[in-house]
Symmetry: C2
DNA sequence: TTATTATTTGAATAATTGTTCAAATACGAT
DNA sequence: ATCGTATTTGAACAATTATTCAAATAATAA
């Protein structure tokens, strides 16, 4: 029985797989992936402009970027009233670019 | 006004971005990503074995692989009563491997 | 100060997705 | 034919996630 003891154990310790699933889940949404795509071409964009480009409300963009922010996929820079978002350059976003460009 | 006419248009035609979001959404789930991970090491596995390895029911595995199947991420080979699943070798799964290995 | 613009927040609700379980199917063996 | 094993299916329900909207915050200008 259980010829799978080893791989079961291996999988149990793979916390990064779960984290990866979570990140993939966040970018696995049309609005959020479009935002990532936009931020691949444009170094930074503010919420209103993204909303205009994506033909949606500032509220959905704001909620969307918040999720990307929470998982450290984007970062914000505030200038007066407007806040600019840009893709963070890390392992995950670099691999992500392979998918969307 | 609209300095974004071009990118808006470009985005509208990007059907593949939507498709990609859908695929990423499917692998952006712990169970399904684990299945993909398993199929990276093991050339093929059947439903019962995956259920044992993942400590879950055959029903959740069956439902899960169905979603992977629908998006052409895995394929099935039936041998008597048991059906073996394997990762399809395509653009998406190759990029996916970068994330999980 | 009030007004304006940009963004965030939270809560209500809508919609989607996951889980469970029992029944159905498929196949080989008896 | 019936039985046992493997898998799929669908429906009910649970849980998560998305969307909407109005109110709140922040910053600047008048």
């Amino acid at each position: 029985m259980s010829e799978y003891r080893q791989i079961k154990k291996e999988l149990k310790n793979k916390k990064e797989l779960i984290a990866c699933a979570q990140q993939l889940g966040v970018v696995g949404d049309a609005t959020r992936l479009k935002i990532c795509y936009l931020l691949c071409c444009h170094p930074e964009l503010n919420v209103s402009d993204m909303a205009e480009i994506l033909d949606t409300s500032v509220s959905v963009v704001s909620h969307s970027v918040k999720k990307l922010l929470d998982l450290k996929l984007v970062e914000r820079r505030k200038e007066a009233q407007t806040v600019y978002y840009s893709l963070i350059n890390n392992d995950f976003t670099n691999k992500l670019k392979e998918f969307i460009t």
